[in-house]
């Protein structure tokens, strides 16, 4: 980062988001539900009914807690239905509300059918629909964060959706490994391990994208949760690779570690954003740099568009005598 920019007594320039713990938890649960629906659908197509049934159950659990988390974070929870008052493409939160609604309805039908066998005809339509809706459900949350003035979120707008997508895949694989007997969980293991690797790559790409702003990940909660996330990911992936195919208890532990890693990762991204709003150097610094380097014109102009000032047309206060 460039040297400390000028500021108004070091005050924050933008507001810190008022969202609380429910929001990063929802990012975790939504991604888990979304990618699990895809896993469940594909496993069903492949004829692995045992895995499909359990993955539908996982997806159902994720989709059930999601609206509860979101509604509880609202300032006026009783007005949650206003979220569906309109559809606005300029608002990822509006688009996401519709995705979540569709995903919730279709996943519920698919999961209920998988476990009880009712609504067979409806389920035939609901399964692929839930699988498809689960994809944007896993990534729109990154678009939601990117479309704010929060420096580290907006700067990472191209990479963050991939971080969330890979994270959702880790979640889906890990959760299914946790609840499925090892012989039937082979695709889930492959998913969890492959996605864990991709997640690290995506993370590195995104860190390069945000450049100097990545500094926020070296401090405070963002740093703490990122360290936890990395440690859990390494331990979980290692254990899953070594013993996950043979031992049910090892697979359970590995799945839990990977889920813990993903939850911490979402917390880290969330806190990095909050931290980058507090210090004006992250907000003013990059803006002033871009102006100084001639890349942006900025919000100010010192040159008047009239050749000479006519005091009579200036402030009334300065023309009282004239």
């Amino acid at each position: 980062m460039s040297p400390e920019p000028r500021s108004y007594y070091g005050h924050a320039v933008i507001k810190t988001p008022v969202w609380s713990w429910e929001v990063p938890c929802y990012f975790f649960a939504g991604g888990l539900a979304g990618a699990s629906a895809g896993l469940a659908y594909l496993a069903g197509l492949r004829g692995n009914e045992e895995l499909a049934r359990r993955a539908w159950g996982v997806s159902m659990a994720g989709i059930a807690v999601s609206p509860a988390l979101l509604i509880s974070d609202l300032g006026r929870p009783m007005r949650f239905a206003n979220m569906l008052r309109m559809f606005k493409v300029t608002s990822p939160m509006s688009v996401g509300s519709w995705i979540l609604s569709g995903s919730g309805a279709t996943t519920t039908v698919a999961a209920v059918h998988a476990w009880t066998g009712v609504f067979p005809r409806l389920a035939r339509v609901a399964r692929p629909a839930a699988a498809v809706l689960g994809l944007p459900l896993s990534t729109y949350t990154a678009a939601l964060l990117a479309n704010t003035a929060v420096p580290v979120w907006h700067a990472g707008r191209k990479g963050l959706p991939f971080v969330f997508a890979a994270g959702a895949a880790v979640n889906a694989g890990a959760a299914s490994v946790l609840v499925t007997p090892p012989p039937q969980a082979r695709p889930a293991r492959r998913l969890a391990l492959g996605a864990a690797l991709l997640k690290q790559l995506m993370r590195l790409t995104e860190e390069r994208e945000v450049g100097g702003l990545g500094e926020v990940y070296l401090h405070g909660s963002a740093h703490r949760y990122r360290s936890i996330s990395r440690a859990c990911l390494a331990a979980g992936a290692g254990l899953l690779l070594a013993r996950g195919g043979r031992s049910q208890s090892a697979a359970r532990l590995a799945g839990a570690l990977l889920l813990g890693s993903e939850l911490s990762s979402r917390w880290s991204v969330f806190h990095a954003g909050l931290q980058s709003t507090v210090d004006p150097k992250y907000v003013v610094g990059p803006q002033r740099d871009a102006i100084d380097r001639g890349k942006r014109r900025g919000g100010s102009r010192t040159r008047a568009r009239v050749a000479a000032g006519d005091p009579a047309l200036g402030s009334p206060a300065t023309t009282l005598s004239g």
Binding site: Y8, R79, M83, A304
Partner: protein, 298 residues
């Protein structure tokens, strides 16, 4: 790709009024805070006591849900002759930093320059708050201003980090977001907003935006001629990051000195890029799922 909303004036048809706004000429602000008081009184904004901030005469610190006008007080040390020569101000500001950093002591004969400015919601042309609002509670009025409908807002909080100026905030005991309405009720009755009405020096000028902008150009030229080299119009142009603002300012130093962002951007301008990335990532997720499930032993 740029996605924009243009609710004004097109969607109002015949009912559209000329765009109204504020020109805040900070060069004549005396820091009396009459605007803060008038705003609170007229709009029934709840009391909020910050106490002694220690930051010059500022005791209200920032704009938030319970403060829709905020007067900033900046004290700058300048050498005595700097008043004669505007260019000297740059050097003086650098010297002031050296003094604050303990490198240099306060010099005999140095003076103080006091900058005061009344901040307010900018009522941006491209208003990020309005664009991200999922409920449509934030809307653009027939005057081109941006207002929250309190009977619709569900307190989702998305507008709070979307605003590049940190204007919007949630009132915790109430759960909804509140901000300056540019006295929508008064405008409807052909009255000027309470703050502008109360301003004793006309630092806050209300009117039709086109006319205010013209007036501001003359004032800027006048100040530049008088040697105020850093005098600048802030948010007066269509080609800045928010498409120009309904409330714009004449500042005597860079925006960040007053706590304003030097290059505010409505991030919705990057929405094409953002949605593309999200869609590609969703597609990649499908590929990864398919590879894992279909691409090996069952």
């Amino acid at each position: 790709m740029t996605l924009q909303t243009h609710a004004w004036p097109a969607s109002y048809g015949e009912e559209a009024k000329p765009r109204r706004g504020f020109f805040t000429d900070t060069s004549v602000c005396i820091g009396c805070k009459a605007c803060e008081v008038a705003c609170k009184e007229w709009n029934h904004v709840p009391m909020s006591i910050e106490g002694f901030s220690g930051n010059s005469y500022d005791n209200s610190n920032e704009l938030d849900a319970d403060r829709w006008r905020h007067v900033a007080f900046v004290e700058q040390r300048v050498s005595a002759d700097a008043r004669e020569n505007g260019g000297e101000l740059v050097r003086a500001a650098q010297a002031a930093a050296a003094i604050a950093g303990g490198v240099q002591t306060y010099q005999e004969g140095d003076g103080i320059r006091w900058l005061m400015a009344s901040d307010v919601c900018k009522h941006c042309t491209n208003a990020a708050c309005l664009e991200v609002c999922p409920t449509g509670a934030l809307f653009r009025t027939e005057f081109g201003t941006v207002v929250v409908q309190q009977d619709v807002c569900n307190g989702c909080g998305y507008c709070v980090p979307a605003c590049p100026f940190g204007v919007l905030d949630r009132r915790e005991e109430d759960g909804r977001v509140w901000k300056c309405t540019l006295c929508y009720d008064r405008l409807k009755d052909d009255l000027e907003p309470a703050c502008a009405k109360a301003c004793p020096t006309n630092s806050i000028q209300f009117g039709e935006l086109a006319e205010l902008r013209e007036r501001a150009e003359h004032r800027l030229a006048h100040l530049q001629e008088a040697g105020q080299a850093r005098a600048q119009l802030y948010l007066a142009d269509e080609d800045d990051g928010v498409g120009g603002a309904g409330a714009f300012f004449l500042l005597l130093d860079d925006p960040e000195v007053y706590g304003l962002p030097p290059d505010p951007v409505d991030t919705v301008r990057d929405l094409g890029e953002i949605w593309t990335a999200a869609a590609l990532a969703a597609t990649a997720l499908a590929a990864v799922l398919a590879a894992a499930v279909l691409g090996g032993r069952r």
